[in-house]
């Protein structure tokens, strides 16, 4: 069934706009130093993830299949949603890595030889995976609860705007989901910023477990 979920979750139009998104991002966002690439992409991938995954389950409603889908055993419905989320997270992580590579056309300079390019890249991979994981699952959850893709995306976008703002940075500090984006280069290996990402990952896991209940109640 993975093959089918892959085709359902990744239609051509989604692949098209997501690729366009990273191409535009790598063109309009400057990165003078290598260490600026990760923070430049991380926050924006959250927006892409929330839009990309909004209809993971609601596509059944939009295509008027919900009444049939609801007749399947709840465990199978839950597994189908999990497979779709997995496919989408995998794809988005893949293109975020591609986006990282695309920033190299700007020929960014290495600021600190101690923190090698490979270290920064691996750090970015972990961070961006958590960002995509959290915003994807949050998007599926909120849209399912509201039973509306547009309302869900709208509310999450406002939340994202707050979190990436100065007010969000000041209020949440290292607990901000985008703490990696806000931290100074010198603070990168102090790992204080990781608190925000750990909290985000834990929340995403909890939301993932909640999906079954949400499907039962709101599916």
């Amino acid at each position: 069934m993975m093959k089918q979920d892959l085709k359902i979750s990744l239609p051509v139009y989604k692949i098209g706009y997501s690729l366009a998104f990273i191409v535009i991002l790598s063109c309009v966002h400057s990165a003078v130093y290598v260490n600026e690439i990760g923070p430049a992409i991380d926050g924006k991938m959250a927006v892409l993830a929330l839009v990309f995954c909004a209809d993971t389950y609601l596509i059944e409603r939009q295509s008027r299949r919900r009444e049939v889908f609801r007749l399947y055993p709840i465990k199978n419905q839950y597994c189908a949603v999990l497979r779709r989320i997995t496919v989408q997270i995998g794809y988005l992580t893949g293109i975020s890595i591609l986006a990282y590579g695309m920033f190299y056309w700007q020929k960014p300079a290495v600021l600190d030889e101690k923190r090698s390019g490979i270290f920064l890249f691996l750090l970015y991979c972990g961070v961006v995976f958590i960002t995509i994981f959290f915003w994807s699952v949050l998007s599926v959850t909120v849209c399912n609860l509201l039973q509306s893709v547009w309302s869900g995306m709208g509310i999450l976008f406002l939340g994202w705007l707050f979190l990436v703002s100065k007010a969000g940075e000041k209020l949440l500090g290292v607990w901000n989901p985008f703490s990696y984006e806000f931290c100074e280069f010198s603070e990168l290996t102090e790992w204080k910023w990781a608190a925000g990402k750990i909290i985000t990952a834990v929340c995403a896991m909890l939301l993932l477990l909640l999906q079954k209940k949400i499907l039962e109640k709101r599916g």
Binding site: M1, Q4, R65, R70, P73, N76
Partner: protein, 289 residues
């Protein structure tokens, strides 16, 4: 398999009562559900599929009461073809049915065997590799029916299964439903009276959320006995005059004029003979009684 509906009511938030205190007993075989648009047929079917919770009354399927705790048990026994459904456009017919079959919990090998059987029965075998988006409306409808049959449900609910099908396909689908109805229950909702006349012996007629009639087809036909008249109109003007003054069930062009079937308790004041009652006549009689 028997479905008992007692005092069922569905009132929406806007205070519209779509189903109004109805009682119905549906037993084995094909049971027809007939009614105009907005009569409450789809609402009734949505309750029976557990998608919609009724405001009042009870429903039971083989003694299992429709309640939150029993929904999963009931859902396993149900197959449903909604009036409108867009199956996965990026999947081929085979992939789509395999996906839906496996979601139903049918083991993979068994699922493939059933898909092969039903694709043959619905003349879709040669189209199995086509993407769903490439199919015509009639083909999509047939795939929709196959997905409803895949888990071999004890209770199959089909809403307008023959919509968009050509006459030959319609007959094929009707025959498939008749074969499938052996030892099972099918609730067949349609506007096409001819489909019910060809497939079922029991039916219910709904109007504005109420059941106007439920029972044997024969009894329903006998209600309109003596009220069907075959009238001949020589000209357009005469035909229009008849249509204006009487309830007409059909009008057909014949050699030299029009043959018009009039439903009237009294003999129309035109040249006419008494006709044999068809389900369509009985339906029109009942709806305008």
């Amino acid at each position: 398999m028997s479905i008992k509906i007692a005092d069922l009511t569905v009132t929406f938030k806007n205070q519209v009562t779509a189903v109004n205190h109805i009682n119905l007993e549906i037993s084995n075989g094909i049971y027809g559900l007939l009614g105009e648009n907005g009569a409450g047929k789809t609402t009734l079917m949505r309750v029976l599929t557990t998608v919609l919770k009724p405001t009042g009354g009870t429903v039971s399927l083989d003694g299992i009461l429709y309640s939150e705790g029993n929904y999963e048990k009931i859902q396993q026994k149900i197959g449903y073809l909604p009036q409108e459904i867009d199956l996965y456009p990026n999947l081929s017919v085979q992939e789509c049915l395999e996906y839906m079959g496996e979601l139903s919990g049918i083991p993979q090998q068994e699922c493939r065997k059933r898909i092969k059987y039903y694709l043959e029965k619905t003349s879709l075998t040669e189209h199995r590799k086509k993407k769903m988006r490439q199919l015509s409306g009639g083909m999509k409808r047939r795939v929709g029916l196959v997905q409803a049959l895949l888990n071999e449900p004890d209770f199959l609910i089909v809403d307008e299964p023959t919509t968009g099908l050509d006459p030959e396909e319609r007959i094929r689908i009707r025959n498939l439903l008749v074969d499938f109805s052996e030892n099972r229950t099918i609730l067949f909702s349609t506007h096409v009276v001819e489909d019910l006349a060809a497939t079922c012996s029991k039916l219910a007629v709904m109007k504005k959320g109420n059941i106007l009639y439920s029972g044997d087809m024969k009894e329903m036909l006998s209600m309109a006995d003596g009220c069907v008249w075959n009238c001949f109109a020589k000209s357009d003007i005469q035909a229009r005059e008849i249509e204006k003054n009487y309830r007409v069930s059909t009008k057909q062009y014949v050699n030299g004029g029009y043959m018009i079937r009039v439903i009237s308790e009294e003999k129309p004041e035109v040249q006419c003979t008494q006709g044999e009652v068809t389900l369509e006549d009985a339906y029109i009689y009942l709806m305008n009684k």
